[in-house]
């Protein structure tokens, strides 16, 4: 909801004779900090035993060399009820892979990463998600009636507070589009999320054309991850003069000895429904 509003305000201010330019500027560097991308997503209809965790380090903002990967760390995920451990094997490229993971809905798991002798731990619960009922396209149901949008429909459960992350990746685009959604205004209703692109000469983005392929993912996420990803998305869509003052994103991976020291990134456990749609 807030994203939509911020985007609209940004568009409005741009309408009023403003200019954007890419410029050179100096920014500070905070030094290397551990980044843990531990997204254990259980795709509906699969066993979900193969999972990848990526470890890297914070690098200078304008440094465009390949990511500062982290090797030699030890990574494991434990099921908090039965103590079963899934060990993640170092692939020597920043990825740590397991095929031992057993996903259970509403189960709590603990992640432990040992990096340079320091242990970071995080705990989360695997959040289920409903299936996507329908995927279709339309023109007049988005922001611009002349542009195609892809719609997904799903029924939000009434009895609980639900949070979702949707990721749309149009295969010709370099970057995905993330949307954080809660059922605050729509609890219990049939929800529709739409994905619309606009032709923008400056960024090179083009609206959806027939033949475009869109990969769609709908994740059920916890409330704490929702707060995290909402901030991340907001800060990433830096809305110009109407953006909120950005702050460091605190994930859930904390140094067990020094709680003020935390890793960037997040340990999430989700159920996900995936679809692929070809635009007509």
């Amino acid at each position: 909801m807030k994203n939509i509003v911020i985007n609209i305000l940004l568009v409005t201010s741009i309408l009023l004779a403003s200019c954007t330019d890419v410029i050179d500027i100096d920014v500070p560097y905070a030094g290397p900090k551990l980044v843990v991308e531990a997204s254990l997503d259980w795709q509906k209809g699969t066993v979900g035993n193969t999972q990848t965790i990526k470890l890297s380090e914070l690098q200078p903002y304008f440094d465009d060399t390949t990511p500062y990967i982290v090797t030699g760390a030890s990574v494991k995920v434990t099921n908090d009820s039965n103590g079963r451990v899934a060990h993640f094997i170092d692939q020597d490229n920043g990825d740590y892979v397991t095929s031992e993971f057993i996903p259970v809905v509403d189960q709590s798991y603990t992640l432990e990463v040992v990096y340079n002798g320091i242990t970071f731990a995080a705990r989360e619960i695997l959040t289920p998600v409903v299936t996507i009922d329908l995927v279709n396209q339309s023109m007049e149901n988005g922001f611009d009636p002349n542009v195609i949008e892809v719609n997904i429909f799903f029924k939000d459960p009434l009895e609980e507070e639900n949070y979702y992350l949707t990721i749309f990746q149009e295969r010709k685009e370099l970057l995905p589009t993330l949307l954080d959604i809660s059922d605050e205004f729509t609890n219990g209703n049939e929800m529709r999320i739409f994905y619309e692109k606009f032709t923008n000469e400056e960024s090179g983005e083009k609206e959806l054309q027939p033949g475009d392929i869109v990969d769609i993912e709908l994740y059920g996420i916890s409330k704490t991850y929702f707060n995290y990803i909402r901030l991340l998305i907001e800060q990433n869509n830096d809305g110009g003069p109407f953006s909120t003052i950005p702050a460091s994103l605190r994930g859930n991976c904390i140094n067990i000895i020094d709680p003020d020291d935390y890793a960037l990134g997040y340990f999430r456990l989700t159920e996900v429904d995936k679809r692929t749609y070809v635009v007509e």
Binding site: L16, D21, L175, P246, L249
Partner: protein
């Protein structure tokens, strides 16, 4: 009310021991009957004098005898009258505007703009509309808010931001009044224009500190804008046609010389140009406003005024999104002169600020508003040549509707949601004395007692441990507290009440005939707050009353200054130093979601702010060349420790720069009258860049490069500077010609500097490389406006 009247009688009897008499009356402009605010009325060579009040009223008391009474007002011919003050007399005077002779003092700057040496009132500037009209501005549209930003200590948050900041204070800390009605949003179109139509305005007074006790409710400043009354002798048409907007005002007598009216309207039409473009033709952005004033003199002692204002901003983005917001005010005022020494004004005011958002894409309609009803009764008692008293009471009833969300169709996924309606009552009673202690030493002292009650008619959520927001040690973030129940308060029941004493003291000491030192202490309480955690105020930001979980802001301001008039050169100089501290300044937890939040207390922390600075001002007020140069060196910072919520607070509880901190703020403006037909003016502004938060690294997540941020506002945007020029051409100036017109040619931002309104960081969508993108709102903007008067 009755007590106040009895008090006045008591004072009169105490002081009637000596044989003194009073002369009083109203000073007006002979051409159109407009009352003159701030005219000097004095007895020659006695040191007895006073300035007329907002309604042109004066009262002078002196021992029996003959006097030469002089009335002077910059830009008008001085009037002299020999009187014998043997009994109380009522004398009204009409002044004539000076006709322009090239070498004489010209009406480019008026009397009250000169720093007044004797009065203890400091940190205040009066701007006459004539001066404001000579300054070059954006799109050739005369703008009061842009003009006050040329004064020291006044800035705004950059192009595209609404409101203004005074001495490092936030936008909601300014009390903006239009004929005494509160205006909640003083800008159109995100700050590009102000809501004040210069054709309807008589004058503007800005109190940056040293706020007199008759004002209360906002801690940083008072912007008192007064509308013209309307020509009560002849009909007059004024207007202007510009490249972006046009205006028309009509005024005239209701009953000749007894009553008059003024109706002014203004609208922008640049959205029509959008229709010519392919991409943007479904969009529109426009504003319009109407000002109305009517007044009628019932008899010599009673005068009625009615003022109204309606303004709207409308945005439409295709058929999918629409937004509108604006102020509506109406007030009725009754001036009553009890006797030659007591002037009173009773006002009944209605004010409504509404904002609305429609998202057709998700069939969502949101309306939010604030309504207030205000009753004020103010008295001024001109006791003697040594002491004046003013006192009065005020009551404001607020009704806040923070938002009603309705689905616009059956198929909308949106549910109905009504945010709790909030009600409150704010009261104030004050008394203030202006006393001449010795020939050189003047003192102004007073106190305001303000009260605020948050009224019921809504539920109050109760939280575990009485913590609506709490620090989560494990995650190291602030989260909403756990609700444990609700109390329901009926309408009219008081949920929470606050009272504050607000002493206000000013003194001035005359060092020489043309120079003085002044000092001041002001304490003010503010009970309603504009919640905004974005860099710039948006129309969706919510005004919230104090209550169980939100404390009123309390400010203490200290200022000291030195003022000098160089009378022979029509120059004046002033330097002021100030220190202001504000308790209970609200700050927001990281990522606070304020929109449609029914429980604001779960995302805010109580903090404090402080600002201090040194302001310099040099003005040349008469001659062919007039102008002003202002420089401010200042700092404005805030912090919010964890407090009841626990934890380290925002930014670790450390002080950080507020978004309106500007270390250096320099501006110079000048106007030169070249010939009878041509005059030129220029502005130059330089400000240190706004504090911002830059990323200090990047990392990969979900295939994207994510910027990492830490300390708030530790970096700065590049400096803001620009030069504006304008030329005014008056063709065929025949004095007997009833139609008067002029062309105003302006260029805003002459050297086309792309001042960064913001810098955003992100990945280039095609290369994936990180880049910094600067958004600048205006480059060079030329404009032509034709102004006329008939």
């Amino acid at each position: 009310m009755r007590h106040l009247f009895l008090l006045s009688i008591l004072f009169t009897s105490l002081l009637s021991a000596q044989d003194k008499n009073t002369v009083n009356g109203t000073i007006t402009d002979i051409r159109n009957g407009e009352t003159l605010f701030g005219a000097s009325v004095y007895f020659k060579s006695t040191g007895i004098g006073v300035l007329t009040n907002e309604y042109g009223f004066y009262s002078l008391t002196a021992p029996t005898g003959p006097y030469t009474l002089i009335i002077s007002y910059m830009g008008y011919d001085e009037l002299t009258r020999e009187i014998v003050l043997d009994i109380n007399q009522k004398l009204d005077f009409e002044l004539t505007e000076s006709t322009n002779e090239l070498n004489e003092v010209i009406l480019v700057a008026e009397e009250s703009e000169r720093v007044d040496i004797k009065t203890p009132q400091m940190s205040v500037t009066t701007l006459k509309i004539g001066t404001i009209k000579k300054m070059p501005v954006v799109f050739g549209e005369v703008d009061i808010l842009k003009s006050i930003q040329l004064l020291p200590g006044v800035t705004n948050n950059g192009e595209g931001s609404s409101g203004f900041n005074v001495r490092g204070g936030a936008v909601d800390q300014n009390l903006v009044l239009l004929d005494e009605a509160i205006i909640y949003n003083s800008s159109h179109l995100f700050g590009f224009f102000s809501v004040f139509n210069a054709d309807a305005i008589k004058d503007v007074k800005l109190y940056k500190g040293s706020i007199p006790p008759r004002f209360g409710g906002r801690v940083s400043s008072v912007l008192d804008v007064r509308q013209k009354d309307g020509n009560n002798k002849n009909f007059e048409l004024t207007g202007g046609i510009g490249t972006i907007s046009s205006r028309l005002a009509v005024e005239g007598p209701l009953v000749k010389e007894k009553g008059s009216f003024l109706l002014a309207g203004r609208g922008s039409y640049m959205h029509l140009f959008l229709k010519l473009t392919e991409d943007l033709k479904e969009n529109s952005i426009y504003f319009y406003d109407f000002n109305f004033k009517g007044n009628y003199e019932l008899d010599g002692d009673n005068h009625l005024y009615f003022s109204g204002y309606l303004g709207r901003d409308v945005f439409k983005f295709a058929s999918s999104f629409g937004s509108s917001y604006g102020n509506l005010t109406g007030n009725l005022r009754w001036n009553h002169i009890f006797n030659e020494k007591i002037f009173s004004n009773l006002s009944l005011i209605y004010s409504n600020y509404e904002y609305q958002l429609e998202l057709n894409a998700i069939q969502f309609d949101w309306v939010s508003d604030i309504i207030n009803y205000n009753l004020k009764y103010d008295f001024k008692y001109y006791i003697s040549d040594k002491i004046n008293l003013d006192y009065g009471i005020s009551g404001i009833y607020y009704n806040f509707h923070p938002g009603v969300v309705t689905p616009t169709s059956e198929t909308s996924p949106i549910n109905n949601l009504v945010l709790d309606q909030k009600r409150a009552f704010e009261s104030g009673v004050y008394i203030n004395a202006e006393q001449k202690i010795t020939q050189k030493f003047n003192l102004q002292y007073g106190i305001r007692l303000s009260g605020f009650s948050r009224l019921g008619g809504e539920p109050l959520t109760l939280y575990k441990n009485d913590q609506p927001v709490v620090y989560n040690e494990v995650l190291g973030i602030y989260e909403a507290g756990t609700p444990i129940g609700e109390d329901y308060y009926d309408i009219g029941e008081r949920m929470k009440t606050f009272h504050h004493f607000e002493p206000r003291i000013s003194l001035s000491y005359q060092l020489t005939e043309y120079s003085s030192m002044k000092a001041n202490y002001t304490r003010v309480a503010q009970y309603i707050h504009l919640l905004s955690n974005t860099t710039n105020v948006t129309p969706l930001d919510v005004w919230t009353p104090s209550g169980v979980y939100i404390e009123p802001q309390l400010a203490n301001q200290y200022a000291i200054g030195y003022f000098k008039d160089f009378k022979n050169k029509f120059l004046n100089f002033s330097v002021e130093a100030y220190y202001k501290s504000v308790e209970n300044r609200i700050d927001y937890i990281d990522g606070a979601n304020l929109i449609a939040n029914n429980n604001i207390e779960t995302v805010i922390l109580n903090g404090e702010s402080r600002a201090y600075g040194l302001e310099f001002l040099v003005q040349k007020v008469a001659g062919n060349f007039t102008g002003m140069m202002a420089y401010t060196l200042s700092k404005s910072e805030q912090r919010a420790p964890g407090g009841k919520a626990g934890g380290p607070g925002i930014n670790n509880g450390d002080w950080y720069d507020t978004p309106y901190d500007r270390t250096h703020d320099f501006s110079v403006t000048g106007a030169y009258r070249f010939t009878k037909k041509w005059s030129f003016s220029a502005n130059f502004v330089y400000q240190t860049g706004r504090p911002v938060t830059y990323p200090n690294g990047q990392y990969e997540y979900e295939g994207m490069s994510i910027p990492n941020y830490s300390e708030r506002n530790a970096d700065r945007l590049p400096s803001y500077n620009r030069l504006d020029l304008s030329a005014i051409f008056v063709p065929n100036k025949r004095p007997d010609n009833r139609w008067k017109g002029e062309f105003v040619f302006g260029i805003y931002n002459v050297y086309n500097r792309m001042n960064a309104a913001s810098i955003s960081f992100g990945q280039n969508k095609q290369t994936g490389l990180n880049e910094a993108t600067r958004t600048a709102i205006f480059g060079i903007v030329p404009s032509i406006t034709y102004n006329f008067r008939f």
